[in-house]
């Protein structure tokens, strides 16, 4: 059998797992692994400028491809800098394996240089973690980590690797396990047959159904089944922020995103529904608004692979544990077998009602002679990219506007931090997507607050020539914070404006990228066209937008789903 050191085993195990890209930053505790990477020609390593960005890159790489993202960092600050990235992936159920160095085993507990209890610090935000105390444990720990990260409800897994365990001086027999099983871990994939029958019956008898589709449908690659079921029964479909793309945004049965900044028709359909069928969504507080007033007449049917997501916030009358793809296919098969269908008359009446709500045209907005509106920017982006770009975003108003005005055609096209709401996610996320899909247009929609949280990655883009487009909706303020302060804090703008926003064009040029400033609406489309034509350069477009624009619709706090502000002057009847 081949004899390898611990460090070599790490790299060989990753190779044997099929890993091609790894994102990281070296340091004292992982020098042996970095030396092994140097000698490997199978794994491409990307050196970031801050470890948080490495995790976001791996995370977005995973979101875009469905593969597991891999990160390598050193002990102490290298490891703790990953925490925000790991928490971001955890909240959105993204499979990651994070390898972190550790001080030698005989120093653990002595407060050694760069010692941090990474297993302890990361515990609340990982799916699982391993600490390897001998080199022989490494291949099996890595195999288990990838298995756990990518199955069931996916999530990040941390592997702590003390320096002495990696030592090149000691060689051990190496064999990478072909498969692995854990007696304590068996995710349920197919749904209970009785529940499937009941679910189909409930769906067929519903007069006002809504199919409520979340990120779980994308993770489970269930878009085909979602579309087939929706079309077969003529169901109205709403996507969560994380579910955008799971159902085509331009489809006539799509009623828009729901929730805090959801459409009027999506939120009213939910509130008035008699059956809400949730596929991989988790009734998050940004969706339900006040749970006591949530959808008073609806029977709740919920599929989720994670039993803890079922009935956590809203009681599910008909729970089904299983993979969305498998369960929906079971339902489709049963429908096919029985040839049963729903009552088209009542569904048509329901659509008449929904179309009345649609006619309100809640996403219409006022343009201005003097200012560019953020909505115009996203619509121009959609037009120039023909709706085909992978769009990543940061967090805030620009994120909501991108979600509302760029109808995503397919899953894994919209990459954002939904659960954690991590500012600084967008740029490294775009880089991760571009590395996965070098031939596709990738754009990061960002704000002047968010972009500065990981702006140092412009340097990584320069080093590896990762030609993403950065589209900055610059309102010289922390727009979403300011919106809340204007609406709920008497207009007191406590620390929500930036009076020292840098010259982003010059900043981009400092990194040898192309910067374009857009102040007038007529400059916008030409700038975007130029940016996407320059396929081998990073282009940073800094668009000065109306700083007073708010995001609407917006749910009224403590209200039901149908209580919304529709503009600065209009709200629904309370």
């Amino acid at each position: 059998m081949e004899m390898l050191s611990g460090a070599e085993m790490v790299v060989r195990s990753l190779q044997d797992e099929g890993i091609e890209h790894i994102f990281g930053y070296p340091g004292g505790s992982v020098l042996d692994i970095y030396d092994a990477i140097f000698q490997s020609d199978k794994i491409e390593h990307y050196l970031v400028r801050h470890e948080q960005a490495a995790v976001h890159m791996a995370d977005a790489y995973s979101r875009a491809t469905g593969k597991v993202g891999t990160v390598l960092v050193t002990a102490g600050p290298g490891a703790t800098n990953c925490i925000t990235g790991i928490a971001t992936a955890y909240m959105d159920s993204i499979p990651l394996v994070v390898l972190s160095g550790q001080v030698p085993t005989n120093w653990i507990g002595d407060d050694a240089f760069q010692e941090t209890d990474m297993i302890g610090v990361s515990r609340p935000v990982v799916k699982h973690s391993f600490s390897c105390r001998t080199a022989e444990e490494i291949p099996i720990a890595i195999k288990k980590a990838f298995y756990i990260a990518s199955t069931g409800r996916p999530g990040p897994v941390v592997i702590d690797l003390p320096k002495d365990v990696q030592s090149p001086l000691n060689k051990f027999p190496y064999e990478y396990p072909e498969s692995v099983s854990l007696r304590s871990y068996h995710p349920t994939l197919s749904g209970h047959k009785g529940q499937i029958k009941r679910a189909v019956a409930a769906l067929l008898s519903a007069k006002k159904p809504v199919l409520y589709v979340g990120g779980g449908s994308i993770i489970a690659n269930a878009s085909k089944q979602v579309l087939a079921l929706a079309e077969k029964l003529n169901l109205p479909v709403t996507n969560t922020l994380m579910g955008l793309g799971a159902f085509p945004g331009q489809h006539k049965q799509f009623i828009g995103m729901l929730g805090m900044h959801g459409t009027y028709e999506a939120n009213l359909s939910m509130h008035n529904a008699d059956l809400i069928f949730s596929a991989g969504a988790r009734f998050d507080d940004r969706v339900t608004n006040n749970v006591d007033k949530f959808c008073p007449n609806a029977k709740i049917m919920q599929i989720d692979i994670d039993p803890t997501s079922i009935s956590k916030n809203i009681h599910a009358d008909l729970p089904i544990v299983g993979s969305i793809e498998v369960v929906l296919q079971q339902m489709l098969d049963l429908l096919e077998e029985t040839q049963a269908t729903n009552d088209s008359e009542s569904i048509n009446a329901w659509w008449d009602q929904i179309n009345e709500w649609r006619a309100k045209d809640c996403l219409a907005y006022q343009t201005s002679e003097t200012h560019i509106k953020p909505q115009q920017v996203i619509q121009a982006l959609y037009k120039v990219t023909k709706g085909d770009a992978i769009v990543t975003s940061d967090v805030g108003q620009h994120q909501m506007v991108a979600a509302q005005y760029y109808p995503f055609k397919e899953p894994r096209q919209w990459i954002n931090s939904g659960g954690a709401g991590t500012m600084g996610f967008g740029l490294p996320a775009a880089m991760g997507c571009k590395i996965a899909f070098p031939d596709r247009p990738v754009v990061c929609v960002t704000g002047d607050g968010s972009i500065q949280m990981n702006i140092q990655e412009l340097s990584t883009c320069m080093q590896y020539n990762i030609p993403v487009v950065i589209l900055l909706l610059n309102n010289r303020s922390l727009g979403m914070v300011k919106q809340w302060q204007k609406m709920f804090y008497g207009g007191r703008q406590s620390h929500s404006y930036m009076d020292s926003v840098p010259d982003f064009v010059k900043l981009s040029e400092a990194y040898n990228h192309i910067g374009i400033k857009v102040d007038k609406i007529e400059e916008l489309e030409p700038a975007l066209e130029r940016a996407f034509e320059l396929k081998d350069r990073v282009v940073f477009i800094d668009v000065a937008i109306d700083p007073e624009e708010h995001v609407y619709p917006m749910q009224v706090k403590f209200g039901s789903m149908e209580d919304m502000y529709l503009s600065k002057t209009e709200r629904t009847d309370a």
Binding site: P124, S184, P307, H315
Partner: protein, 166 residues
């Protein structure tokens, strides 16, 4: 409502921390927790007593426990017929013959055993359900000074055929 949850989990470093961390992270209350390896040394058995406000919270708590990768089985004991026991050691000051007799008598009534003696102290071992141990302490406190109390927390098991096995 008071519940007793039995957990069968991998006997591995970090497994206990994950359970305790889960309770802290999700603001669940732990009244007592006992853990020890089973006859199969690769497994640990844990008994957790907790106070929950409703059935839904208990269900969520059990699902969250089961979600931990190290956990094999989770079950609730108080809903069915079960046996629960706690071990207590109490050090009691017995400065005179009269008190020594009184404490001995009370210990006998509760089926306690004196496991250590000094001229001024009795150390008594008592097992039973929590309420019995509470009642013993209340009785002793009426007449004597309790110097020290240590309780193991509840150990529980279902009656009959029902068993928590891998």
């Amino acid at each position: 409502m008071r519940s007793i949850i039995s957990v069968l989990l991998e006997n591995e470093s970090g497994a206990l921390a994950r359970v305790v961390g889960l309770f802290a992270q999700r603001a669940y209350n732990i009244e007592s927790l006992t853990v020890s390896p089973t006859n199969d040394l690769t497994l640990s058995r844990m008994t957790i007593t907790t106070e929950v406000d409703c059935r839904a919270t208990l269900e969520q708590m059990m699902k969250q426990l089961h979600k931990l990768v190290d956990v094999l089985r989770v079950s609730e004991l108080t809903e069915g017929s079960h046996v629960e026991r706690e071990l207590m050691l109490v050090k009691i000051r017995t400065p005179n013959a009269e008190l020594r007799q009184e404490v001995k008598r009370t210990a006998d009534i509760y089926r306690g055993q004196i496991v250590d003696i000094t001229p001024n102290l009795y150390t008594i071992q008592l097992t039973g359900a929590c309420s019995k141990l509470d009642a013993f302490l209340a009785t002793i406190e009426d007449t004597s000074e309790i110097v020290e109390v240590v309780r193991s927390g509840v150990c529980g098991i279902a009656r009959g055929e029902k068993a928590l096995r891998s």
